[in-house]
């Protein structure tokens, strides 16, 4: 069996799986799975670029995804009336002052000679800078958050089309990745792991707590959509006529149609990224990356700037995750910082990459779709299994009750099991690197 045949079988299996799910549940839920599966596949492509092609261990995917989500709010939401005049400029000034403080401190560190005096000067710069920052920042934030707090209380966005947020989300993530990569790359691989784990938590903490930015845990909902609204479709005569011809209930048809529009958009993004990545990894650049991954010392000896190349790949991969994050928030129609959890947004993506086959873009896509399906379906399937296991027990027996209630937690266990089984028995994944 050639690799091509095998890949066709795999993807054919995914299609059959989706069709079967559609028949046994509903077409709406299958489209829901497919849409999130496509987003997951994009994330997996980004992580695969970092891990599969450069051997970089990034466990901060959640943070980059969340930055993409933040971008959606900042780009697509209408600006809040009066927020900018009330405190927006103050916040901006304060942030610039904060940046200037850090810049001065770095300048002092590099320009002055080592000694007590330097330490004192740097401390002075940092402390006074921080005090001034807070003096400007706090009242400005209060002013912004006081504006219509039940609905707004934040700066709002730029009121631009939401699709623009996707590349902007990538840029946001790239910026954060550059900062973290600059400090942690070139050190040991474990350090990058911890650093990315930390930055992700911090990004989430900022989005959760800085209400002036995106309302924090109060969530921003009602994001503009790139697809039409179901209600509009249901009132659209042309659409109703079309559904009449096809013999589908217009309400069902409208929900399916909207999801299809999203799916097509996502497939387009996935396809573009896939083609670009394929070309990149098959280019001399891609060969160099793999050479660095396989033997850093030798690559360095041949004059390759390993750290710079790593930074490049790290930023690119994170940007892809940022794009995926923006896509996801667009699909959700709201930004809910409280729902970002590392197990779901970081480690699940890792399972996708490892299962699909690290170092292979097609594998990443397959892993994304397949594992996402499993992630969603484990709950109903687990419930079925539990029903079967407990069928012999009498109703109301404590163990039966406990098992039925806990079935939902089978998810994490299953993911861990799948990851370990693949690592053990097929360490190169379903579609290995050529």
């Amino acid at each position: 069996m050639t690799g091509k045949q095998r890949n066709i079988i795999y993807f054919g299996f995914v299609i059959v799986l989706m069709l079967a799910t559609g028949i046994f549940t509903s077409w709406n839920s299958v489209l829901f799975i497919i849409n999130f599966g496509l987003i997951s596949a994009v994330m997996a492509l980004g992580v695969n670029l970092q891990w599969g092609f450069a051997g970089l261990f990034n466990v901060g995917i959640m943070g980059f995804v969340a930055l993409g989500g933040l971008a959606t709010v900042l780009v697509a939401m209408p600006p809040t009336q009066g927020a900018w005049t009330a405190g927006g400029l103050g916040i901006l000034t304060a942030l610039l002052m904060g940046a200037a403080t850090v810049a001065f401190a770095v300048l002092a560190y590099t320009r002055l000679t080592l000694g007590k005096l330097r330490t004192l000067i740097i401390m002075g710069i940092l402390i006074s800078g921080f005090v001034f920052y807070r003096v400007v920042f706090d009242p400005a934030v209060d002013a912004v958050e006081a504006i219509n707090p039940s609905l707004e209380g934040y700066l709002g966005g730029l009121n631009l089309p939401v699709l623009i947020a996707w590349p902007i989300g990538g840029i946001f993530a790239a910026g954060a990745a550059w900062l973290i990569g600059k400090t942690a790359l070139g050190l040991r691989s474990d350090y990058l792991a911890i650093a990315t784990l930390g930055i992700a938590e911090i990004i989430i903490a900022i989005i959760k707590n800085e209400d002036w930015l995106a309302r924090g845990v109060k969530n921003v909902s009602g994001l503009p959509r790139p697809a039409p609204y179901e209600v509009d479709l249901q009132n659209d005569l042309g659409f109703i006529q079309m559904t009449g011809k096809l013999g589908i209930d217009p309400i069902l048809a409208s929900t399916l149609f909207v999801k299809l529009v999203y799916a097509i958009l996502f497939i387009a993004v996935l396809a573009i990224l896939f083609v670009l990545l394929q070309r990149a990894v098959n280019s001399p650049w891609g060969r160099m990356m793999r050479a660095i991954r396989d033997n850093e010392v030798a690559a360095e000896a041949m004059g390759k700037n390993v750290t710079a190349r790593h930074l490049q790949v790290f930023v690119l991969g994170s940007a892809i995750c940022g794009i995926a994050g923006a896509m996801m928030t667009t699909l959700d129609g709201q930004l809910t910082p409280g729902t970002y959890q590392p197990l779901r947004f970081t480690f699940l993506i890792w399972v996708m990459v490892i299962v699909g086959g690290s170092g292979n873009n097609l594998g990443a896509v397959l892993g994304g779709l397949l594992i996402w399906w499993l992630w969603v379906m484990v709950e109903p399937l687990g419930l079925g299994v539990m029903k079967f296991i407990t069928s012999g027990m009498t109703e109301g027996y404590w163990l039966k009750k406990h098992l039925m209630e806990s079935a939902a937690h089978m998810r994490l266990f299953t993911m861990g099991l799948v990851l370990l089984l693949v690592l053990r028995f097929s360490p190169n994944g379903l579609i290995p690197e050529k």
């Binding site: 051997g55 261990f57 466990v59 921080f130 706090d138 400090t183 942690a184 050190l187 040991r188 691989s189 474990d190 350090y191 792991a193 911890i194 650093a195 784990l197 930390g198 930055i199 938590e201 911090i202 903490a205 959760k208 707590n209 959890q341 590392p342 197990l343 480690f347 890792w350 399972v351 490892i354 209630e405 806990s406 937690h409 089978m410 998810r411 994490l412 266990f413 299953t414 993911m415 861990g416 099991l417 990851l419 370990l420 690592l423 053990r424």
Partner: protein, 336 residues
């Protein structure tokens, strides 16, 4: 008098909580650092190992409580702790036998071990959630305070109160005992020294006839014990919630790296560094400031440097500073 009041407030809100939290982090970081030193990988499942050991302890505590078995003013969890440790040891040895050993024999790269530990993390997390659920569980009983605020005020006549929770006292005492025993073991017993030798220079240790399998098993035993104790102390002091334990991974790793990965003394120093920074930076200093500062300078705000939601940011910032200026940590760890 004002200075005394300030000191009491400082102890009550900063020093005592930070010492307790630092002890918990130190015990956690010791586990991480031992695994790193001996088995040579960063164990991402450590937080969930702590959660598992704590969960077993919680279950035994509940069972004891339902049978009416308590130990007076002390929390019943202490009685259940040995069972929790036992449960954790069984799980972790099984994990090593079924999962990690395969990769050890293969001499897999450290990063593979890290990814494997991700899988283990998922499974342990799943087990804990499956058995006890994802919610907050309380299992503390017995006397709540060693000194309560009211007693302290009555005793000293000071305006500020000082409370020492039983759990805080227990944490510090247990941590001192555990660390003492651990260091005695590592520095003064044959087996402990052979562990250090193995961590220091694997090839030479093999050449000296040190049995690697034995070293690995003993390491896991110690790690399981440390993890369970750290987890139970944290759970008694705060509360037991599986997700919180997963999140503890970050400050624990920060502590281990800040101290120098693979260095046990460093892990303790790192634990306290992280704990004190977190608490001092996220504490609202107003209470202390009103006693110390002259009348005219009394602060209006809370004088809080960062909101408590940013405590992870603090551990992380310290981690970054250390990585930038001293990548091997305060006490030089290994740089593999």
């Amino acid at each position: 008098m004002d200075l005394l009041n300030a000191l009491v407030a400082l102890s009550n809100f900063v020093l005592i909580p930070a010492i307790a939290y630092g002890s918990q982090l130190a015990l956690g970081a010791l586990g991480v650092t031992l695994i790193y030193g001996i088995l040579r990988f960063s164990n991402f499942a450590h937080g969930d190992t702590m959660a598992f050991g704590t969960m077993v302890t919680v279950l035994f505590t509940w069972w004891f409580q339902s049978k009416g078995i308590t130990i007076g003013p002390l929390p019943t969890a202490l009685l259940a702790l040995p069972f929790g440790i036992m449960g954790c040891i069984i799980l972790i040895l099984a994990t090593d036998r079924i999962i990690y050993r395969f990769y050890r024999v293969q001499k897999a790269k450290p990063v593979i071990f890290v990814i494997v530990s991700l899988g283990v993390m998922f499974i342990m997390n799943g087990i804990v959630r499956f058995v006890i659920g994802p919610n907050d569980q309380r299992f503390l009983d017995g006397e709540r305070f060693i000194i309560s605020v009211r007693n302290f005020k009555a005793l000293t006549g000071l305006q500020e109160g000082l409370a020492i929770k039983t759990t805080q006292g227990l944490t510090v005492i247990t941590a001192i005992i555990v660390v003492g025993v651990l260091f005695y073991f590592l520095n003064h017993t044959r087996t402990g020294k052979s562990m250090r030798a193995y961590s220091d220079n694997e090839d030479l240790a093999l050449l000296s006839g040190i049995n690697p399998d034995k070293v690995v098993i003993i390491t896991w035993l110690i790690v399981a014990t440390l993890a369970t104790i750290a987890g139970v102390l944290y759970g008694l002091d705060k509360s037991f919630k599986p997700f919180t334990y997963f999140q503890l991974l970050l400050p624990i790793f920060a502590a281990a790296i800040v101290g120098g990965l693979g260095n046990p003394i460093g892990a303790i120093a790192g634990g306290f560094t992280i704990a004190f920074s977190e608490v001092t930076i996220t504490y609202a200093w107003k209470k202390v400031a009103i006693y110390v500062l002259p009348e005219g300078l009394k602060p209006d705000g809370l004088v809080q440097l960062l909101s408590t939601d940013y405590k992870f940011a603090v551990s992380f910032a310290i981690l970054l500073i250390v990585l930038l200026f001293k990548p091997t940590g305060l006490f030089s760890g290994k740089s593999v």
